[in-house]
Amino acid sequence: MTLVLPDPEALCAGLVQQLKPRVTADTALVGIHTGGVWLAERLHTALDIALPLGLLDISFYRDDFDKTGLHPQIKPTQIPFEVDGRHIVLVDDVLYTGRTVRGAMNELFDYGRPASISLAVLIDRGGRELPVAAQYVGAQLEVPTDRMLVLDRDENGKLRLKLDA
């Protein structure tokens, strides 16, 4: 069975429409490395968000550190705004077990106490292992559990979904 993967550019446009009515002066976007950052950059520009974009690398907050060790490439987390009192939209490419989002929320709270955190994802592939839900979803997609669904970006900056073994 070949799975037809949706076009992320179209899904991104859909997310912009969902988010648009909710944006206020206190809305901040935080992308989770790496795919979530690409997506968040798009949303940040399209939604004309005033606060600078936040970038999160959750490697220091992963729950599988004892099993897998430290990720070989860690990018610095950058939260260039005051977290206290802000309405933060976490942005990631694919929502699966919910463990990444758990790590991201823990890390955000080490920067301050946000007024709220919501979650925007390009794809919700189900398979949750934690009570996590996304408020803004590009598409829902069933993916076989043995496959990895990841967002890719080509040299022209075009986004593409791909399945890895």
Binding site: S59, F60, G69, L70, P72, I74, P76, T77, I79, D110
Partner: protein
């Protein structure tokens, strides 16, 4: 021969010396440290990586700064830290080094940070402990002080970006300096083209040229057009016999003053591993001047040690 620092999968299991490590490993440590610099600047300066792990600081030799920065690094990774000042405890009661280590392993240690006056002490411990334990050399005799070498490397990269165009001068008591040895290996590995050591004949180890450095006995000549000046502490406590006439005379010929620093490039940075002897190897006007990056070195040192500990603990 198998590198004693690597595990069966070729990953870093212990950090004993920079010598023999691949360049990618050094780059990985420095890149990871960059992420930890961000952590130490925020409101909550802790990450949960080493939660539940026990780090034992085994200091057989006095050190305040290194022990403190290792302790802070481990605590910021959420580890439990136990400091043992062994110079004044069981060691003096006659217990052997390996017996001490076995006892601490039985207390479920996960990592040992070892400072010892004997070169090779950390190697000995690393080859003795069970395979799930990690050993970090925090200075062994005149041999190595790899985390200091790494934090010096980090500092140089932070200010100068590209190692492959740099002139670096290491000045002073090279003979007794494990810091110099670690830094020479590190800079060579990163492709630094012009490495110089400057000091009196009595304080430059014989054959140091074999490491790929140029030797100068005249400070003015050696400092010309360098990008980085690394001053070393005059280790009077390690000196036996008449290596130097006096500290005053050393300062006259090898002390870094504003006038001498002016011979280096105008944007040259001045480093010192601490503790400084003001008026012996460095003048206060330089130590407190705008080109000194001695205090940032200390701050970066914490991030670098966090990076080393978390990489080891994950392997």
């Amino acid at each position: 021969m198998r590198n004693p620092q690597l595990n069966d999968k070729g990953e870093l299991q212990h950090l004993l010396s920079i010598e023999g490590l691949p360049r990618e490993t050094l780059t990985h440590i420095l890149d990871t440290a960059t992420s930890f610099v961000g952590v130490t600047a925020r409101e909550v300066k802790k990450v949960p990586l080493l939660r539940g792990k026990s780090v034992f600081n085994l200091f057989f030799e006095a050190s305040t700064r290194t022990r403190t920065t290792f302790e802070i690094a481990a605590k910021r990774l959420s580890a439990d830290v136990i400091n043992l000042n062994i110079a004044v405890s069981s060691h003096t009661k006659g217990e052997t080094l390996l017996d001490t280590v076995d006892n601490l392993s039985a207390m479920h240690a996960d990592m040992f940070v070892v400072r010892h006056a004997q070169s090779g002490a950390a190697h000995l411990i690393a080859s003795h402990v069970a395979s799930h334990l990690h050993v970090i050399n925090a200075g062994d005799g005149r041999h190595a002080h790899p985390t200091q070498g790494l934090l010096d490397l980090y500092t140089i990269r932070h200010y100068k970006k590209d190692f492959t165009k740099l002139s670096v001068a290491i000045v002073g008591d090279v003979l007794h300096s494990r810091v110099a040895r670690s830094l020479i290996h590190a800079l060579t590995l990163m492709g630094t083209p012009d490495l110089r050591v400057i000091g009196p004949m009595t304080l430059i180890p014989a054959g140091v040229e074999k490491l790929g450095v140029k030797v100068f006995h005249n400070l003015e000549q050696g400092l010309r057009d360098v990008d980085v000046v690394v001053m070393l502490r005059l280790q009077s406590e390690r000196m036996r016999g008449a290596l130097l006439p006096s500290a005053q005379e050393f300062f006259k010929y090898y002390g870094l003053t504003t006038e001498k620093l002016a011979l280096a490039k105008p944007d040259a940075i001045v480093m010192h591993p601490g503790p400084m002897n003001r008026g012996v190897e460095i003048d206060s006007a330089v130590a407190d001047g705008s080109q000194a990056v001695i205090l940032p070195q200390v701050t970066f040192g914490i991030a670098v040690r966090m990076a080393v500990m978390s990489i080891l603990a994950g392997n």
